[in-house]
Amino acid sequence: MSASPMATIDPATRDLAAVLAAYPEVFKQAKLRRRQRTAILLVIAAYLLFAAWFFDITPYRLFGGLGNMGIVIRSMVVWKNVATWDYASLFQGMIETIAMAFLGTLLASLLAFPFTFLAARNIVKPVLPRHAARRFLDLMRGVDQLVWALVFVRAVGLGPLAGVLALIASSIGDLGKVYSESVEDIDQKPIEGVRSTGASRAQELRFGLLPQVLPVLLSQTLYMFEHNVRSATVLGIVGAGGIGLQLSERIRVQYWDQACFIIILIVVTVALIDLFAAFVRHRFIGKPVAARF
C-alpha cells in the first residue's frame, strides 16, 4: 500500500490506472452494483410496458380521464342550492354508519373472545382444535367485508342489519387472530406465580393471564372500531346501510357538490372517531399497543 502524497486531487492529474490496479475489487463491485440496478430498472420498465398494454392504458385515455376528473373536482367545489340539500338523511346516514360500526365491533369482540384462548399456541396444546380454530378465522378474514355485505343483503334484505352482520363476520376473523396472537406474546411468569399457589388451570388463566391481556385486547378492539367506522362508510354502496348509499346515489346522478359534502363529512367523522379512540385509549387503557388493522 503506497501512501502516495497527493498534492492535488484534480481529476486531470490522477493516475487512475494505478488505483485500479491496487483495488480492483472496489471497481468490480461498483460494476456489479450498476448491473444489478440496471437489471432491476429494466424489469420494472418492462413490467410497466406490459401493464400498459394489458390494461390498454394509453396517454390519451389517461389524460382524458384526468381531464374528466378535473371537471368533477371543479363541480365539487362549487356548491349550488345548499339550502335544499337533504341534510337530515345525510346525518342520519352518518349516524347509522357509526352505530353499525359500534354494534358490529362489540358483538364481534364477544364472539371472537373464545378464540383468544382456542387459537393460542401457549394455551391450547393439542394441534387439531387450534388449527381448526385458526382456519376458521382465516376463512372469515379471507372473504372481503364487501362480499359478506352483499351476501347478507341477499339473506336479510337491504339496510343496516346486513351491514352489521357483515362487520361482525369479517371482524371475528381479524379480532380472533390478533387476540390469540397477543396471548401468545405474553409474559409467562405471572401465570407460573399463580400456579405455584396451587391454583387450577381456569384460575391460572383468570388471575395470571387475563389481567395481562385484557388491556391489550381492549386496545385492539378500539382499533378495530376505528377501522370498522372507515369500512362501514362504504358498505352502503352495496345496500348494506350507512352513508355509502347516499354517496353512491349522489354520484350516480352527478350531484358532485353534495358528493363532496358527504366525503368531507366522512373524513371529518373518521378523524373525530380516531381522536375519540385515542382519548379513550389514553384515559382508560394507557398501555400502548401497535395498531394491526
Binding site: M1, D10, R14, V19, L20, E25, Q29, A30
Partner: protein, 266 residues
C-alpha cells in the same frame, strides 16, 4: 483570507456567539478553545452556513459569504468542508460511497438521483482513503468502522470536496488517544501539504498547543484570547475557562464531581 466581522448569533434572545471579529489567513491551522457552551460549534457552523448568523458579516476573499443563497450557498459549503464530532456519515452506505458523496455539489439533479459516480471519482475516493490509511475498508458499511476510522472517512469525504477551508468541530472528542493522534496528524498533513486552511474546535489544550499555528479562546460567545500557542499562559487560561481551572489540560466544567455530590446528598 477568511474574515469574520462582528459576527453574532442569538438563540431565543440569548447570544451564543457575540460580535466575533477574526481574520484567518490562507493556509493557517487555527485552534478554537473554550468551555462547553462557549459557542465554538455555533461559530464553525455559521462559517459553513449550516446556521445563519443573526448579525455581522462573513467574507472569504471577495465573496460575501453571509449573504449567499441557493446554488451559490451550496457552492460555498462545498468549498468549506466540515467534519463533526459524531462523524455524520451515512452508516448504511459503504465507505467509498460515503467518500464520493463529497462530490455531490458537482453533480446535476438526474445524475445524482441515479447514483452515477464515475470511475475517476471512485479512484480519487480510494486515493484519499489510501492516503489516510483506511483504503482496505472501502467496501464495508460505514457504521461497522471504529470511531477513528469513521472520522478519517469523514476527512476523506471532505478532501473530495477539494475545499479551500476545512472546519472540524471537536473531531477527536469521541476518540481514544491513539485514534486522536491519527486524526490530528491527518488534519495537519492536509493543512501543510494541500495548503488548506483548517479551523478546528478542540477541548484538549495540549493537542491545541501541539498542532495549531494560532489559538482563539472563546468565553460566553466572545473572543477573549487570540494569539500564538506559547502565549497561552495561566492568566489567559483563567479568562477562557474561568476560575475553577488551575492547570493546563483540565478542561470543561468538572461535571462528574458535581453529579457525585448530588448522588451523595440523595
Amino acid at each position: 483570507m477568511l474574515i469574520l466581522e462582528s459576527l453574532g448569533k442569538q438563540f431565543d434572545g440569548r447570544a451564543a456567539v457575540d460580535r466575533v471579529t477574526l481574520r484567518v489567513a490562507r493556509g493557517q491551522m487555527l485552534g478554537v478553545i473554550g468551555r462547553s457552551g462557549a459557542g465554538k460549534s455555533t461559530l464553525l457552523r455559521m462559517i459553513n452556513r449550516l446556521v445563519d448568523p443573526t448579525s455581522g458579516l462573513i467574507r472569504h476573499d471577495d465573496r460575501l459569504v453571509s449573504a449567499l443563497k441557493g446554488r451559490e450557498l451550496m457552492r460555498w459549503r462545498a468549498a468549506c468542508a466540515m467534519i463533526f464530532q459524531q462523524f455524520n456519515l451515512v452508516g448504511r452506505l459503504d465507505v467509498v460511497t460515503n467518500v464520493m458523496l463529497g462530490r455531490l455539489n458537482r453533480h446535476g439533479f438526474l445524475g445524482s438521483m441515479a447514483g452515477a459516480f464515475s470511475a475517476a471519482e471512485r479512484a480519487v475516493a480510494l486515493q484519499a482513503l489510501d492516503r489516510l490509511g483506511i483504503a482496505q475498508t472501502a467496501l464495508q458499511r460505514a457504521e461497522t468502522l471504529s470511531g477513528g476510522q469513521q472520522q478519517r472517512v469523514a476527512i476523506a469525504r471532505a478532501l473530495l470536496q477539494e475545499p479551500e477551508i476545512l472546519l472540524a468541530d471537536e473531531p477527536i472528542a469521541s476518540l481514544d488517544p491513539r485514534s486522536s493522534k491519527l486524526v490530528m496528524d491527518a488534519l495537519r498533513r492536509i493543512n501543510r501539504d494541500d495548503k488548506i486552511t483548517v479551523i478546528v474546535n478542540l477541548h484538549d489544550l495540549d493537542i491545541a498547543r501541539a498542532y495549531c499555528d494560532r489559538i482563539v479562546g472563546l468565553a460566553n460567545g466572545s473572543v477573549v484570547f487570540n494569539g500564538a500557542p506559547e502565549d497561552l499562559d495561566s492568566q489567559a487560561l483563567e479568562t477562557i475557562y474561568g476560575h475553577d481551572v488551575e492547570t493546563g489540560s483540565l478542561l470543561d466544567e468538572p461535571r462528574r464531581p458535581t453529579d457525585f455530590r448530588v448522588w451523595a446528598a440523595a
